[in-house]
Amino acid sequence: MEPRLRRVARRRLLLAFLVLALAGCDFLGGNDEPAAPRLYPVRIDGSWGYIGVSGRIAVVPRFEAAEDFSEGLGAVQIGGLWGYAGSGGNVRIPPQYRVAGPFSEGLAAVRGDAAYGYVDTKGTLVIDAQFDLAQPFSEDRAAVRIDGRWGFIDKSGALVIEPRFSDARSFSEGFAAVESVDGWVYIDRDGGVVIDPSFTIEVAGDFVDGLAPFATSDGWGYLDRDGGPAIAPRFEQAEPFAEGLAVVAEDGLFGFIDKSGAWAVTPQFREARAFSEGLAAVRLNSRWTFLDKASLRIGMERNFMRAEPFNGGIARIFNGREDDPDIGYIDRRGEYVWFPTK
């Protein structure tokens, strides 16, 4: 009991010091700078704040929850409602939403009481709350659900593709996968069906570098832009390409293939995630570490309960208890930028 109390007390002291040290930053921060620093949520003694990429506290922990920054704003929860904080730590869009999504192309999907709409970075509701569900914008289109059917809007809020799909994914490389009565097909930005293969697609993924993962009864493969099976379906699972390689599974083990479908890393992981910034999170047995793209070898000595992709030179990792984890950040060598806390 005593050591724990002491630890808490020490953290409080640290916190108090940080508050004092950083009180000035809010004023000095000039928080409308165009190149806002990338910030990362951390939890200390149950309160959420943000660190910079160096691991130093940038926004003093005082939120009930905090999400990743996107386009200079991070969704934060205060009094049970979500708003957005700027990189200086000021709340820029006051807490008023039940759900607040990430910003992309200048807009974020938010939900007040009932329906989803979109706000801009000033907090103005530029597309009225009217959707059952709403996905982030990409390529000037956002998938929205109206009366149980998915369609697409543009940034003026105009419904450019009528809601007629039972499911829909976001646009990438000019295509969006949508589910119609006879399986998944791909549409273009005007809603025309442009890829509708002769075989039935059970699941369709996003295009990256001209290839999209798809599943048939034979397993997972990759489609090219003409709708042909560039890599024939034969895997148990397949993820979109990233940095030239894609995660696929065979016989219960995950590896990486190149765009010809040849193994770059033979199946050897219990799980694997896409490459990001030259590193890919992989699970050996129960723990995650990172695979280095340059060597295609495990690139660090540490391993973690859970790990997320690298983003801006650091990666979020989780240790401790699965249901109440400590959250930390590591650099590319696996050294702690922020030692896991909760």
């Binding site: 083990l253 699970r283 050996l284 129960s286 695979l291 070898r297 495990i298 690139g299 000595e301 391993n303």
Partner: protein, 345 residues
């Protein structure tokens, strides 16, 4: 803990006294020049390293410590297994669940239940993807795959086998020597070459690895030796037989005692020991009446049997164990049988 400090204080005190009194003799490089090896010793429950002059050069601090190989030593701390350099500094942080010493520039380490191989700079050369892994020898290592098959791999991690390679079972000495490795398939033993080719068929009921171009094999209840030309070099006649080194091999004769034969198979040292191990650096551990001593190539004792365990000589010293009641103490003797480090624990 208190004892550790007092012992350390004593040691440091002695060391400073020595330096103070002996002065330059000790400092003028004799220490370094003559110190050809470092040897792990146990003091107050922690392992450190002495040099070949018996002086503690890396303070006792490790839970476990192995001999140096490729200039790095595998040690264990409270936080895991890692590798230190001869200065005692960690070159590879102790973050692994388990590890084996370096050989051929690679060391097997375990991460999250899986074995892979690190190079000397501490980065993975072969990803952790095996359920078991042995040390490399002659560019090959015996590993167990995720499907629990035993295989030999090359230094790039690729499985080495050809059409003649049998399904492999575990063996005690999974290592290449003289270009050959002992393999077992069920109850029969044979030998493969570095390409995996079965060059000596599965025909022995028991066998040992090649050493000095000879291998002990068991043919119809008796042990003999074959050479690397696959012909019988010494006909099967012994109850048991161990490896050749320094042109001597320990064999167990009909009287159930061990002696040593030369390369022609004639008895060079009379059968007189209860146990006997191969020679290394001109010395061999032998056991009589439950105690181990060491002999020279003529069969004469350099140190009478008195140890509970005796390891082979390496870099001019051999580790010995003496049990003191429940405690196990470890020390080193030099080639003359003198204590380099009197057994401690």
């Amino acid at each position: 803990m208190k004892r550790l400090f007092s012992r350390l204080a004593l040691f440091l005190g002695c060391a400073s006294l020595l330096f103070g009194a002996g002065g330059c003799d000790f400092l003028t490089g004799e220490d370094q020049a003559d110190a050809t090896g470092l040897f792990p010793v146990l003091l107050d429950g922690r392992w450190g390293y002495i040099n070949s002059l018996g002086r503690m050069v890396i303070e006792p601090q490790f839970y476990a410590a192995e001999a140096f190989s490729d200039d790095l030593a595998h040690v264990r701390t409270g936080s895991g297994h890692g590798f230190i350099d001869p200065d005692g500094d960690f070159v590879i942080e102790p973050r692994f669940e388990d590890a084996r010493s370096f050989s051929d520039g690679l060391a097997a380490v375990r991460m999250d239940g899986r074995w892979g191989y690190l190079n000397r700079s501490g980065t993975f050369e072969i990803n952790p993807q095996f359920t078991s892994a042995h040390a490399f020898s002659e560019g090959r290592a015996f590993v167990r795959t995720l499907d629990y098959d035993w295989e030999y791999i090359d230094t790039s991690g690729r499985i080495v086998r050809d059409a003649t390679t049998p399904d492999l079972d575990e063996v005690d000495e999974p290592a290449f020597s003289d270009g050959l490795a002992l393999v077992r398939h069920g109850d029969t033993y044979g030998y493969i070459d570095r390409s995996g080719k079965l060059v000596i068929p599965l025909q022995y009921s028991a066998a040992r690895a090649f050493a000095d171009r000879r291998a002990a094999v068991k043919i119809s209840d008796r042990w003999g030796y074959i050479d690397d030309k696959k012909s019988t070099a010494i006909s099967p006649q012994f109850i048991s037989a161990a490896s050749f080194s320094d042109d001597r091999a320990p064999v167990r004769k009909d009287g159930n005692q061990w002696g040593y034969i030369d390369r022609s198979g004639s008895l060079a040292i009379a059968a007189q020991f209860d146990e006997a191990m191969p020679f290394s650096e001109g010395r061999a551990p032998v056991m009589v009446d439950e105690k181990w001593g060491y002999i020279d190539p003529s069969g004469a004792y350099i140190i009478e049997p008195q140890f509970d365990e005796a390891m082979p000589f390496k870099d001019g010293a051999a580790r010995v164990r003496i049990n003191v009641g429940e405690r196990q103490t470890y020390g080193y003797i030099d080639r003359d049988g003198k204590f380099l480090w009197y057994p401690t624990d």
